[in-house]
């Protein structure tokens, strides 16, 4: 048993489950940030420092702020950021589906024998990672850059809308 893994995993799972069951979306996002930082801490525990910092910066910093902006721009009135709870039938179906997927994954993983190659956490220096990114993975890096640029430009175009859009017109 690994105590660090158990603690980090419990924090991540509990905060994530609580966040996605709250009625107030702002509280959901803020609690989900805890869950994302928990996953970043798990990356750090596994020895992937660069991925951990990328996770913390992108999710804890950028995505959470974008989601908060979207929540504040789309609420019904100024004081109300709550959503009604799901109807019981849909909630039950979703719980059964999610529980079945998690249960099947857990049962399969526990029954499968894995051969572990490393006992100690491997280290991948940032220098080595940079060499990999700029060498063998250069094409993928460029494609990712083009994809990000295109996606962000598209997001701006979609969110800005047309000028001749009438207020409230479908």
């Amino acid at each position: 048993m690994n105590i660090t893994l158990v603690i980090l995993g419990t924090v991540t799972v509990v905060s994530g489950a609580t966040a996605l069951s709250l009625r107030n979306i702002v509280r959901s996002v803020l609690l989900l940030v805890v869950s994302w930082f928990g996953i970043a801490a798990l990356f750090l525990w596994a020895g992937a420092e660069f991925a951990a910092f990328a996770q913390a910066l992108v999710y804890g910093g950028a995505v959470s702020m974008v989601v908060l902006f979207a929540v504040l721009l789309t609420r019904r009135n100024h004081l109300d950021a709550t959503v009604p709870p799901p109807p019981p039938g849909r909630l039950l179906g979703a719980l059964i589906a999610g529980g079945a997927v998690a249960g099947i994954i857990a049962a399969t993983v526990i029954r499968t024998p894995f051969e572990l190659a490393n006992d100690e956490a491997p280290s991948l220096p940032v220098r080595r990672l940079g060499t990999l990114l700029m060498g063998p993975q250069l094409a993928a890096l460029l494609v990712a850059g083009v994809l990000l640029t295109a996606a962000l430009l598209g997001a701006v175009v979609i969110a800005a809308g047309r000028k001749d859009d009438k207020e409230g017109a479908p």
């Binding site: 048993m1 893994l5 158990v6 995993g9 991540t12 799972v13 994530g16 489950a17 966040a19 996605l20 979306i25 989900l32 996953i39 798990l42 990356f43 020895g47 992937a48 660069f50 991925a51 990328a54 996770q55 992108v58 995505v63 974008v66 989601v67 902006f69 979207a70 789309t74 959503v83 909630l91 179906g93 979703a94 589906a97 999610g98 529980g99 997927v101 998690a102 994954i105 857990a106 993983v109 526990i110 572990l116 190659a117 490393n118 956490a121 491997p122 991948l124 080595r128 990672l129 993928a140 990712a144 990000l148 996606a151 962000l152 598209g154 997001a155 701006v156 969110a159 859009d165 479908p170």
Partner: protein
């Protein structure tokens, strides 16, 4: 249960939470957050297999996670722009009310 199996079970749990939220909640923002949580669970799997796999010096798991994070960030930006466009059209982000395909 080995440490790798604990990591994989944990990521399965996180995936289940995200799937449940994406299926149950009716607010488009919460559905998007559930999908983000599922992506994070997949990233955790990559890191776990890299950590306990045979050749960590090649850094395949970390590189895959970096690209997945970049794509997830783009997906979040486009998804939230769609949420804002949906709100502009129907003054609500409830997915049940988004029945009209025609803009």
């Amino acid at each position: 249960m080995s440490t790798l199996q604990m990591c994989l079970v944990l990521s399965g749990l996180i995936f289940g939470i995200g799937l449940t939220a994406a299926l149950a909640r009716s607010s488009a923002v919460l559905v998007l957050l559930g999908i983000e949580l599922m992506l994070n669970a997949a990233n955790l799997n990559f890191i776990a297999f890299w950590r306990f796999g045979p050749a960590p010096e090649t850094g395949t798991g970390v590189l895959f996670v970096l690209f997945a994070i970049a794509v997830a960030a783009a997906e979040a930006a486009v998804g939230l722009a769609l949420v804002i466009a949906l709100y502009r059209h129907q003054k609500s982000i409830r997915l049940q009310e988004a029945t009209r395909l025609k803009g």
